[in-house]
């Protein structure tokens, strides 16, 4: 980009590395005891004569996204062609910066159960809730410290349960759930109390409710009761994990398995067992392969050989490198720029929406700072 501006100062960068060289640079080597070639080198000036300057058009051509799974609460996809620093930024934003609604204040009117107020409060805070997306994302706003709670920044919940003897329980029963009413308090016992305009956004199937209704909150015995009011606010994961929209948001690098020399017969079967199911397959050596001189298959027609079926399923346990017979026949590695994301939502966002939101968040952040840098006094 900058090179066209002042041709005199910047050397001409026209050298293009060969595809093999690009592949080599793009692979993190996984050896028996070490990991090598770990840092990215795609910066201007690192390789003399090569052009590695930022070019949005080149980036547009090289970056790829491939989906593997896209369910509301679990998504898996590959982001290919970006640097680890960018991929990591998206992951960190998903965990720590995307807002969700969680229980923040609890007014404990009565708690005679054996579980202490502060422990009960902590347990309640960690319960993930869900509800109408429009209301959650657009209607609800940040709660301002010290402000009076309003319908657009606070959601009120109620938990009022009392444990009593069950008169109609079978005489010989020993199960507390039969003997008593409300012996177990579940997340589903928490009631949403709509206020103001909340009735419009959170009614029917859009009501604020626990994502997993069967979370056990407390246990009680006859005579004990819990009576409390809760206020939910919006918050971010960097403040408290309860606000994180994801159960996991992680990535791993795409594994590579290169078989350098033929692995045949019983060895092939043993080799297959070194990997998780479906990674290595067994195929018969064909006539053509057996005929080819120098292929290593001469005279082995019809025997089984090990082939790589799906390297993505590998866990890179390096088990195969522990056996002397495979040591020099296989090379393990990972693609430096191929990130396999796994995003598991806790219910307030669709999993794929969380990733989109993280992109938007990074952009917004850069935009805000760009404005401030332009105004910066130099």
């Amino acid at each position: 980009m900058g090179s066209s501006k002042k041709q005199t100062a910047v050397p001409v960068r026209t050298k293009v590395p060969s595809p093999e060289e690009v592949e080599k640079r793009n692979t993190v080597h996984i050896n028996a005891e070490t990991v090598t070639n770990v840092t990215s080198t795609d910066f201007p000036g690192f390789y003399p004569g090569e052009d590695h300057s930022w070019d949005i058009e080149k980036f547009r051509e090289s970056v790829r996204v491939v989906f593997h799974q896209n369910d509301p609460y679990e998504a898996q996809f590959s982001l290919i062609g970006v640097d680890a620093s960018i991929a990591n930024a998206f992951r960190r934003i998903m965990i720590a910066d995307i807002p969700t609604l969680a229980i923040e204040d609890i007014f404990m009117w009565n708690n005679t159960s054996v579980i202490q107020d502060e422990v009960l409060g902590h347990r309640l805070g960690l319960i993930p809730f869900t509800g109408g997306k429009e209301g959650l994302h657009n209607f609800l706003k940040w709660y301002k410290k010290g402000e009076t709670p309003c319908d657009y920044n606070t959601v009120e919940l109620e938990l009022k349960v009392k444990c009593e003897n069950n008169e109609s329980a079978p005489a010989d029963s020993k199960d507390p759930k039969e003997l008593y009413h409300n012996a177990h308090v579940y997340a589903k016992d928490i009631k949403f109390v709509p206020k103001g305009r909340q009735a419009k956004y959170f009614s029917g199937e859009n009501a604020i409710r626990p994502t997993n209704p069967d979370i056990l909150v407390a246990k009680m015995r006859p005579g004990q009761e819990i009576d409390l009011t809760m206020h939910m606010h919006k918050g971010v994961g960097s403040d408290h994990a309860k606000f994180s929209p994801v159960a996991t948001a992680s990535y791993r690098l795409m594994p590579t398995i290169t078989i350098l020399e033929p692995i045949l017969g019983r060895d092939a079967e043993k080799f297959q067992k070194c990997f998780p199911e479906g990674v290595i397959g067994l195929e018969k050596v064909t006539k053509e392969e057996a005929k080819k001189k120098g292929s290593g298959y001469e005279g082995h027609e019809g025997e089984l050989k090990a082939v790589v079926l799906d390297a993505m399923r590998d866990t890179v346990s390096r088990e195969c490198l522990r056996h002397d017979e495979f040591k020099d026949k296989v090379k393990l590695g990972r693609r430096r720029d191929h990130f396999i994301y796994l995003v598991e939502s806790t219910g307030q966002w669709e999993s794929d929406a969380i990733f989109l939101e993280s992109i938007a968040h990074l952009k917004e952040k850069a935009k805000r700072f760009e404005k401030q840098v332009v105004n910066m006094v130099q």
Binding site: G45, F59, V63, V65, L79, R92, I359, K367, E370
Partner: protein, 156 residues
């Protein structure tokens, strides 16, 4: 005591672009603390040039070599920004650091070749991140559409 909540029906000015509750300054209820010590205010002087400015030029800068201090930023922006700035051929050196884990500050050092400035390199870096985000977003939406289309075709 009854219910202490008062739910109003108005208040539309608030937007989600403002700071989360946990990042807001403490509420006024500790006024007595502020009154107690006047020296406490001087520390904030450096940031008074602009309301809500979260980035400043650290002292000792020259046009082509400067350090910037970002407030309330961490590795998320730090490493991403370092990467795109290093991709700029006019930049000789770029690095970021978090000087101390208990201070929410992130520093970026930029040294450029003659002909441009460190501030310009930072501005370009921030610009490039935005372009990058647009491309990733487009590609993601495209891939998602392909995936749902394929799934629909398979089940049909």
């Amino acid at each position: 005591m009854g219910k202490i909540t008062k739910f109003g029906d108005e208040g539309e000015e608030v937007t989600m672009k403002e700071t989360p509750t946990s990042h807001q300054p403490e509420a006024q209820d500790d006024v007595s603390m502020a009154d107690a010590g006047e020296e406490g205010e001087e520390g904030d002087e450096e940031y008074e040039e602009g309301e809500g400015t979260k980035v400043r030029l650290l002292p000792g800068s020259t046009p082509t070599a400067a350090s910037f201090e970002f407030l309330d930023e961490n590795h998320t922006l730090g490493n991403a920004l370092r990467y795109v700035i290093m991709k700029n051929p006019d930049v000789e050196f770029c690095a970021y650091a978090i000087p101390h884990p208990s201070e929410a500050k992130m520093n970026v050092r930029i040294q450029t070749y003659e002909g441009t400035t460190a501030v310009e390199a930072l501005r370009k870096g921030l610009r490039d991140i935005q372009d990058l985000c647009d491309v990733v977003s487009d590609k993601f939406l495209e891939a998602r559409k392909d995936f749902t289309d394929k799934k629909a075709a398979a089940s049909a």
